[in-house]
C-alpha cells in the first residue's frame, strides 16, 4: 500500500510537471499555428516512463493527471465521454507492452530480457508503438463522437505520433543532461 502511494504520488507529480512545462511553451507560441504544441507533446514521456518502470500501479495517478492537466482543474469535466481520450492515451502504453509481450518480448530488467527496461533503444520501441496506438485510438474516438471542433485528417494522426515521439525524446534528453552528476556516480553504473 505504501509502495502504491509512493508510485502514485511520483507519477502524478511527474506527469503534472510535464503538463505545466508543456502548457508554458504552448502559451509562449500563442497557439500560432494552433497545432504546434502537439508536435512536441511532453506528457507522453510521463506515461511511458511511469508505466514501464512502475507498472500498472502508475495508471490511476497518470489518468488523474490527464484529467487535471489540460485545464489545471478537475471541475471542468462536464461529461463522462470527455475523460475517455485521456484514458485511451494512458492505456496506449500498457497496450504497447502487451503487444510486444504477445510477440514474445516480455518486459524485464536484465540484459537477457527480450525487452529490457534498462535499454533506451527498447524504451524508444515502446514509445513508438504506444504513439501509434495513442494517435489512432484518440483520433478515432474524437471522430466517432465528434469531439473535435476542427476536421480530423491523417495529418493530425501523424502529428500526434510525431509529437509523442519528439516529446518523449526531449524529456529523456533533459533528464540525461540534468541528472548527469547522479548518472556518473558509481551507484548507477
Amino acid at each position: 500500500m505504501k509502495n502504491f502511494f509512493t508510485v502514485s504520488l511520483t507519477s502524478f507529480v511527474f506527469s503534472s510537471a510535464l503538463w505545466i512545462i508543456w502548457s508554458f511553451f504552448v502559451v509562449q507560441i500563442e497557439g500560432n499555428p494552433n497545432w504546434l504544441g502537439s508536435v512536441f507533446y511532453l506528457p507522453h514521456a510521463a506515461r511511458i516512463l511511469c508505466i514501464v518502470y512502475f507498472g500498472w500501479k502508475a495508471i490511476p495517478a497518470l489518468f488523474l493527471a490527464e484529467l487535471w492537466g489540460p485545464n489545471f482543474s478537475l471541475l471542468d469535466i462536464d461529461s463522462l465521454i470527455n475523460v475517455i481520450p485521456g484514458l485511451l492515451s494512458v492505456l496506449s502504453v500498457p497496450l504497447a507492452l502487451q503487444t510486444l509481450h504477445l510477440f514474445g518480448f516480455p518486459l524485464g530488467n536484465t540484459s537477457g530480457s527480450p525487452l529490457n527496461k534498462r535499454n533506451y533503444k527498447h524504451i524508444a520501441l515502446i514509445t513508438m508503438i504506444s504513439a501509434i496506438y495513442n494517435s489512432l485510438m484518440v483520433n478515432l474516438m474524437l471522430t466517432r463522437f465528434s469531439m473535435s471542433s476542427s476536421e480530423i485528417g491523417i495529418d493530425q494522426v501523424v502529428r500526434f505520433f510525431v509529437g509523442d515521439m519528439l516529446g518523449t525524446t526531449i524529456v529523456l534528453m533533459f533528464l540525461v543532461i540534468s541528472l548527469r552528476p547522479l548518472l556518473n556516480s558509481k551507484k548507477v553504473n
Binding site: 509512493t6 508510485v7 535499454n119 533506451y120 533528464l175 541528472l179 556518473n184 551507484k187
Partner: protein
C-alpha cells in the same frame, strides 16, 4: 519502498546508457555549455559558427572556449574551417555522425 528504488535504479540505468552513447561523459559542465552553444548556433548558420559569437553566447572565457574547441576537434566532433569573408577568422562546423 525497496521495490520503488529498484524501479528508479532501472530508469537511471536506462538514462546512463543513453548518456554513454551520446558520448558526452568526458566533458565538464563548462565544456558542455560551449558544445551546446555550438549546436544551437549551427541550427541558424549552415556555413559554420563564428568563434567570437560562441564566446559571447556561451558566457565562457575565450581560453575555455579555445580549449574546448581543441578537445572537440581532437574527438572529431567539430571541424574548423577558414572563413571565406575574413581570412583570420575560423568557422566551427559540426561533423556529421556516421
Amino acid at each position: 519502498m525497496t521495490n520503488f528504488y529498484e524501479n528508479i535504479k532501472d530508469a537511471l540505468s536506462m538514462l546512463n546508457g543513453l548518456e554513454k552513447d551520446l558520448n558526452i561523459r568526458h566533458f565538464t559542465p563548462n565544456e558542455l555549455k560551449v558544445f551546446y552553444t555550438i549546436i544551437i548556433q549551427s541550427a541558424s548558420s549552415e556555413s559554420g559558427s563564428n568563434i567570437t559569437e560562441i564566446v559571447d553566447n556561451s558566457g565562457m572565457s575565450r581560453s575555455t572556449v579555445y580549449k574546448t574547441l581543441k578537445k572537440l576537434t581532437n574527438a572529431g566532433i567539430i571541424g574548423l574551417t577558414q572563413s571565406p569573408d575574413d581570412g583570420r577568422e575560423s568557422l566551427v562546423t559540426l561533423n556529421s555522425i556516421s
